[in-house]
C-alpha cells in the first residue's frame, strides 16, 4: 500500500497498479477507453490524460497518460487541472469528429461508454463542419452486429479477440483515420468468445445481434443475477427481461470464475426460453392425443395415476437442486433416480469423490489463470467447459509475467509484457485424442486413445511419487515423455491438472487425481479440476440416486406404475429400443419440462415448468460451488418452478402415501433449502449461496428495475387501463419494480445490473469492486461446498492411489473406438433450442485419422442403426478411433464404444 495525492486529497492505493486504476478506485471520474482491467494498458486512446507534479513545489506539472504511469510513493496528480481537462476535451472532440449521428438507432445507446465519457468530458457541441469518413460493415455471423462508423480506434476489440481469446479472424486494417476493425472478408467470427466484443467494445461497433431483434434500452429492462445453465463451469450472468420475456444475457463479474468474459454458448444459448418449443400449458394424453388441460385437471389426472401403484422419480443434472430434492422427497430415496446412465453416474460420483479426497488445492478459474504448469489430461476443455479453456489460455502467460517482474515492467503494461512473453516458453501440456483449441499455445501436445493417455498419466504420477502405482510395459517414448512432464510439473510452484468425463473414462480422472495428489505432497498448491457435463451434475452427485439401468430393470419387472421425469430428455441417454421398452412397461409417464423434447411424445401427462429465468434455484458447479439464480420473468400460470409442481403433485395425492408432510408445507425457497440442509448435510451450505428472500437493505427489498424504467402506467394498458401491482416472488429478495435499494455495496450474489452515477455502461462495474479486478464490495457470490480445509483431517494418509491401470488401447481390425466429438455449438442440449446457436452449429461429420480417410462418406453402425456420415480427416487422431459428434448423429450416444465402420455401398474409394 502507498498513498497518492489526487487533487489535494490523499488516497491510499496499491503500489502495483497504474494511476488510472488508482483514480478509479479512489472514486474519481476519469474518462478512459483503451484500458480494460483484463487487458491492461496500451495508451492508445490518450483519453486518460492527467497532470502529474514532480513535487509539492511543482506548480506547472506535466500531462501524462494515467493508464501508462505506475503508481509511486507520494505521486501528486490532478484530474481537475484546467490543462488536463482541455486536453481530454480535445481528445474526445477529435474522436467524435467522424462519429455518426446514430445514438437513437444505436443498440449501445443508454449503456454506451462513449456517451458516458463524452458527457464526462463536457463535449456537447460539434464544431467540426466538414465531411465524416464512413466504412462498410461486415456480416459477422449470427451473434455480433457490426457498425464500423462508430469506431473510435481504441483497439480493445483486437486486443481481446487476438491476444486474450486467441482468435485470428479479427484484425485492424488500413491506417490513420481509415483504420478498420473487422475480418479479412465477411463471415462468421470463429472464436468461442466473440460475443464478448459486445461488452469489450466501448462503442456501438459490435452489438448483440439476437438482442437487437428484441431490443430494449438498458434502463427499461428488469435484471437479476443468474447462473449460466449451458455447462458445469457455472459462469455468473445477468439476465434482462421486459414485458415478461427474456431479452438478453450479460456477463456478471465473479472474481473467482468468469470475471469479465462469458463464452458464446452461455451468452446466446438462452433462446430456448422464448422458443416455440416451450411448453406453456399442462398437456394430458386423452385417446392418444395430447390436449392442453387446466392445472386442476392435470393434477386430478396425476392423482388417478398415482393411485394405481408405485411412483418412481427421475431427476436431471440440468434441473436445479431444489427440483431434484423435492422429487427425492416425493418418491423417497429408494425410488429416486438421477436420470443418468450408470456409467455417467459412476463418472460424476468418482469426480466428486476425487475432488473431495484431493489433498491439494481445488482451484477456481481465476486461480487457474496463475497456474505455472498445466496438464490437460484427456478433455477438450474448449468444448466442454469453454470458459475454463480460456483461463488455461491465460495461464500460459505466467512465464511472461515472471520475466516482466524481473525486468521491472509492470504486469498491466500490456504491449511490453506481450513482447517479452513472445520469447517465453509455454508450460501447458495437452493430451487428448483429438486436436483442441488450446494446442496453439501448448508447449506440447500428445494424441492418444483415452486409455493410453490415462496410462501416461499414471506413469507421470508414479514418476512424481514412487508410492503411486507404476505402469508396466510402457513404451520407451512414453516413459521419456512421462519423466519430462513429471519434472516440468514438479518444478512448478502452482501446477494444475485438468481432466473430465468427456470420454467417459474413469481411468483418466483417476490418473489426473493421482498426479495432482502426488504433486500435492511437495506442493500443497497443486490443483485438480475435473470437468463435468451439466450445470448441476455436481449437485446431483451429492444427492445421489439410482441409475437409469435400475429404473429399466424395475420397469421390466412391472414394478413401476408412474414415472415422474423432471427436466430430462431420456432419449439422449437411452437407445430408441430402451425408450420403447420403458414406455411399454410403464403405464403412465409424467414429464415435467420447459421444452418439448422427443421424450414428451411418450408422456401421458406433461407439466410446464419454469426455465432458469422464470424461477429461482441453486446449481452446484463442477468446482462444488453452490450458486443461486433468480427469477426475472414472471410467467403466466401454470408455469411454475419444478419444486412447486412436485409439491402440487404431492398435494393432489390423497392420502399422502409416505411421510412427505414437510414437502406439503414448503412456502418458499428458504424452506426448501432448510429441508434440504436437514436431509443432506453435505448440501447444507447451499442455502448460503445467496442471501435469502427475507434479505433487506435498510428495510427495503432490492430493486430489479432501473430507477428510470419507462412506461409503467401504459405498458399493460392494452389489457386493462387500471394499474396492476408489480408481480412479486416469495423466493427472491428482489422487488420487480423500480422501488427498492440498489448500490455498489449490495451483496455480490444479488447485483441485478451495473450502473453508477455518470457510468451507465457495463464499465460501471468498477464502482462495485473493492479493487479493480478484485473482489466485489458486497462480498463473493456463491459458496464452495467442497472446501479443502475439511478433507485434510478426514483423509487417511498416505493418499490411496488408484491401482486399476487400464491396458493399452489396441486398434481392432473390424471395429473402431467411437469417441464423442463434443462441440461448443451442437452437443449441449438446451442451447440447441436457441436460434443463434442453431445457426452457428455445423452439420455432423465423422472424424477419422487422416491416414485412413479413403472416401468422402462412411457408414457408422451405432446401436440405433447405420448412419451415413461425411468424413473429415482429423490430423493426429490415433489409429482405430472415430470421432462422432455427441448427440447429433445418434441422439442417445453412449461412449466409449466399439462400432463397425464401412464404406458406403456403391461408392468407390476416393481416387
Amino acid at each position: 500500500m502507498t498513498t497518492i495525492r489526487i487533487d489535494g486529497r490523499d488516497c491510499p492505493t496499491r503500489s502495483d497498479i497504474n494511476l488510472l486504476q488508482a483514480c478509479l478506485e479512489a472514486g474519481a471520474n476519469l474518462p478512459y477507453f483503451c484500458w480494460h482491467p483484463e487487458l491492461g494498458s496500451v495508451g492508445a486512446c490518450r483519453q486518460c490524460a492527467i497532470k502529474q507534479f514532480s513535487g509539492p513545489d511543482d506548480r506547472k506539472g506535466r500531462i501524462v497518460m494515467a493508464c501508462m504511469t505506475p503508481v509511486s510513493e507520494n505521486t501528486i496528480i490532478s484530474i481537475d487541472d484546467p490543462e488536463a481537462r482541455d486536453f481530454r476535451a480535445s481528445v474526445i472532440e477529435w474522436m467524435m469528429v467522424n462519429h455518426p449521428h446514430d445514438c437513437p438507432v444505436c443498440e449501445e445507446g443508454g449503456e454506451c461508454h462513449l456517451q458516458d465519457m463524452t458527457v464526462m468530458t463536457g463535449h456537447n457541441t460539434r464544431r467540426y463542419r466538414f465531411t465524416k469518413r464512413t466504412h462498410r460493415n461486415q456480416d459477422l455471423g449470427p451473434f455480433v452486429k457490426h457498425e464500423m462508423n462508430r469506431c473510435i480506434a481504441c483497439y480493445r476489440c483486437v486486443r481481446f479477440y487476438r491476444d486474450y481469446a486467441g482468435g485470428d479472424d479479427l484484425a485492424a486494417f488500413a491506417s490513420h483515420d481509415n483504420v478498420y476493425f473487422g475480418r479479412a472478408e465477411d463471415g462468421t467470427l470463429q472464436n468461442a468468445f466473440s460475443g464478448n466484443l459486445v461488452e469489450i467494445c466501448p462503442t456501438g461497433v459490435f452489438t448483440d445481434k439476437p438482442f437487437s431483434t428484441v431490443y430494449t434500452r438498458k434502463w427499461d429492462m428488469r435484471g437479476t443475477p443468474s447462473v449460466c445453465v449451458h455447462c458445469a463451469v457455472g459462469c455468473n450472468t445477468i439476465v434482462n427481461a421486459r414485458e415478461e420475456t427474456l431479452r438478453r444475457v450479460l456477463n456478471r463479474y465473479n472474481t473467482d470464475i468468469n470475471r469479465y468474459v462469458l463464452c458464446d454458448r452461455g451468452r446466446f444459448g438462452h433462446g430456448f426460453v422464448n422458443a416455440p418449443t416451450r411448453i406453456r400449458t399442462p398437456l394430458n394424453t386423452i385417446d392418444g392425443q395430447q390436449v392442453s388441460v387446466p392445472m386442476a385437471d392435470a393434477l386430478t389426472a396425476f392423482a388417478r395415476m398415482a393411485a394405481k401403484g408405485r411412483i418412481v422419480g427421475i431427476a436431471s443434472p440440468r434441473a436445479a437442486l431444489e427440483t431434484c430434492f423435492s422429487l427425492h422427497t416425493l418418491v423417497g430415496p429408494q425410488h429416486f433416480a438421477t436420470g443418468q446412465t450408470r456409467h455417467e453416474q459412476e463418472c460424476t460420483e468418482l469426480a466428486h469423490a476425487l475432488l473431495t479426497r484431493h489433498p491439494g488445492a481445488l482451484p477456481t478459474l481465476h486461480e487457474m489463470e496463475s497456474a505455472d504448469a498445466v496438464l490437460v489430461l484427456g478433455e477438450d476443455v474448449c468444448a466442454t467447459a469453454p470458459r475454463l479453456g480460456l483461463s488455461l489460455r491465460q495461464s500460459v502467460r505466467q512465464a511472461s509475467f515472471h520475466t516482466a517482474d524481473n525486468a521491472k515492467v509492470p504486469r498491466w503494461m500490456d504491449a511490453a509484457v506481450r513482447t517479452l512473453g513472445s520469447e517465453c516458453p509455454s508450460a501447458l501440456h495437452v493430451m487428448t485424442p483429438a486436436p483442441t483449441d488450446l494446442d496453439s499455445v501448448a508447449a506440447e501436445t500428445f494424441r492418444a486413445a483415452p486409455d493410453d493417455i490415462a496410462r501416461l498419466g499414471f506413469a507421470i504420477a508414479h514418476e512424481i511419487d514412487p508410492s503411486a502405482t507404476p505402469v508396466t510395459d510402457l513404451a520407451p517414448d512414453d516413459a521419456v515423455r512421462a519423466t519430462r512432464i513429471a519434472h516440468a510439473l514438479m518444478a512448478a510452484r502452482k501446477p494444475l491438472i485438468v481432466s473430465g468425463m468427456q470420454y467417459g473414462s474413469l481411468a483418466l480422472m483417476q490418473a489426473a487425481s493421482s498426479i495432482a495428489a502426488a504433486l500435492a505432497r511437495a506442493t500443497p498448491a497443486a490443483g485438480l479440476s475435473l470437468v463435468l457435463p451439466e450445470c448441476n451434475s455436481m449437485g446431483l452427485a451429492m444427492i445421489g440416486g439410482l441409475p437409469l439401468e435400475t429404473v429399466m430393470e424395475q420397469a421390466r419387472a412391472g414394478e413401476i406404475s408412474t414415472l415422474i421425469i423432471v427436466e430430462n430428455d431420456l432419449t439422449r441417454d437411452l437407445s430408441p429400443a430402451d425408450v420403447a421398452e420403458l414406455v411399454a412397461a410403464v403405464p403412465d409417464i409424467v414429464v415435467i419440462d420447459h421444452t418439448v423434447t422427443p421424450l414428451c411424445h411418450h408422456a401421458s401427462l406433461i407439466l410446464p415448468v419454469a426455465a432458469f429465468s422464470e424461477c429461482s434455484g441453486t446449481l452446484v458447479s463442477q468446482e462444488g460451488r453452490a450458486q443461486r439464480f433468480f427469477q426475472v420473468v414472471f410467467p403466466p400460470a401454470p408455469i411454475q418452478a419444478g419444486w412447486r409442481w412436485i409439491q402440487a403433485l404431492a398435494r393432489s395425492l390423497d392420502p399422502p402415501p409416505r411421510p412427505i408432510t414437510g414437502l406439503l408445507g414448503w412456502r418458499d425457497l428458504n424452506e426448501v433449502l432448510a429441508a434440504l440442509a436437514m436431509a443432506f448435510p453435505n448440501l447444507a451450505q447451499a442455502a448460503m449461496a445467496a442471501p435469502g428472500a427475507d434479505y433487506r437493505i435498510n428495510g427495503e427489498k432490492l430493486r430489479s428495475q432501473t430507477y428510470r424504467a419507462s412506461g409503467r402506467t401504459v405498458i399493460r394498458s392494452f389489457i386493462s387501463v387500471r394499474d396492476q401491482p408489480p408481480p412479486a416472488s416469495p423466493d427472491t429478495p428482489f422487488s420487480s419494480s423500480m422501488e427498492g435499494a440498489y448500490g455498489p455495496e449490495m451483496p455480490g450474489a444479488l447485483v441485478p445490473t451495473y450502473q453508477a452515477p455518470a457510468w451507465n455502461s457495463v464499465q460501471a462495474l468498477n464502482r462495485f469492486q473493492f479493487e479493480i479486478g478484485g473482489p466485489m464490495r458486497g462480498g463473493p457470490s456463491g459458496i464452495r461446498l467442497l472446501s479443502h480445509a475439511e478433507h485434510h483431517d478426514t483423509e487417511p494418509h498416505p493418499y490411496a492411489y488408484a491401482t486399476d491401470i487400464p491396458a493399452p488401447y489396441a486398434p481392432q481390425a473390424d471395429a473402431v473406438l467411437v469417441l464423442p466429438d463434443t462441440r461448443l455449438f451442437g452437443s449441449e442440449e438446451l442451447s440447441m433450442f436457441s436460434p443463434p446457436i442453431i445457426a452457428r452449429s455445423t452439420a455432423p461429420m465423422l472424424g477419422l485419422p487422416a491416414s485412413v480417410t479413403t472416401s468422402d462418406r462412411m457408414v457408422l453402425h451405432l446401436e440405433d442403426g447405420p448412419h451415413i456420415l461425411p468424413v473429415e480427416p482429423v490430423p493426429g487422431l490415433p489409429a482405430g478411433i472415430a470421432l462422432c459428434p455427441a448427440h447429433m448423429v445418434a441422439r442417445a450416444f453412449r461412449f466409449p464404444r466399439m462400432a463397425r465402420l464401412e464404406t458406403v455401398p456403391g461408392e468407390g474409394e476416393r481416387s
Partner: protein
C-alpha cells in the same frame, strides 16, 4: 336592505360588461401551433414513419405513459407498437423535447374526452398521421450514418464515401 339593493345593482351592471364566456363548441378558441394538446406521430418528407423507436420520449415522460417496442426493416428502426395512455398524460411536452427525430409532436387539439377510460389508450394506428407536422423538412436518416433503402452508406449529409481499405494512399 341597502346591501341587498347594492348587490342587485352590481349584478345588473354586469349585463353591460364585455362577455368573457366563449360559446364553445360553436365558437372555437384560437390555439397557437405550439399549444400542447393531443400527441401525434409524424412522418418524414418521404412519407415514412419518423419514429425510430429510440425510447427517449418514453424515458423522459414524467408519468411514464409512453411505451413502445423497437423492430427493424431494411435497416430502419420502427416501433412495433407505440402506445400512449392519455388518461395519464399531463401534456407537459417533454416527449416532444426529447425526440431526436421530430416524430412525436403535441398538437393544438384538446378535444379528447371519453366516457370509458380505456378509450384513452392510443395505439400507433391512432397516433400516426400522414404529414410532417410542425417540421416539414427534417429527415433523421439524412443525417444519421446508417444506410436505408434509397440512401447508400456514405451519402448522408456531410459524409464521405466509404473508405477503400485496399488503398495504400495516406
Amino acid at each position: 336592505m341597502f346591501d341587498t339593493l347594492r348587490t342587485l345593482f352590481l349584478t345588473a351592471l354586469h349585463a353591460f360588461h364585455r362577455r368573457a364566456t366563449v360559446q364553445y363548441p360553436e365558437q372555437q378558441p384560437y390555439l397557437p401551433p405550439r399549444y400542447r394538446g393531443r400527441i401525434i406521430l409524424s412522418r418524414d418528407p418521404d412519407g415514412m414513419e419518423r419514429c425510430v423507436a429510440c425510447n427517449l420520449c418514453a424515458v423522459v415522460c414524467p408519468v411514464d405513459c409512453i411505451s413502445l417496442q423497437k423492430t427493424e426493416a431494411d435497416g430502419r428502426w420502427y416501433p412495433e407498437y407505440f402506445r400512449i395512455n392519455f388518461s395519464r398524460c399531463i401534456f407537459c411536452g417533454f416527449c416532444e423535447e426529447a425526440c431526436p427525430t421530430y416524430a412525436i409532436q403535441l398538437t393544438p387539439d384538446f378535444e379528447m374526452g371519453e366516457y370509458a377510460r380505456h378509450n384513452l389508450v392510443y395505439e400507433k394506428e391512432d397516433l400516426l398521421i400522414s404529414g410532417t407536422g410542425k417540421y416539414p423538412e427534417y429527415s433523421f436518416y439524412n443525417v444519421a450514418g446508417i444506410p436505408i433503402p434509397g440512401k447508400a452508406r456514405g451519402t448522408s449529409e456531410r459524409e464521405r464515401p466509404p473508405v477503400d481499405l485496399h488503398s495504400l494512399l495516406p
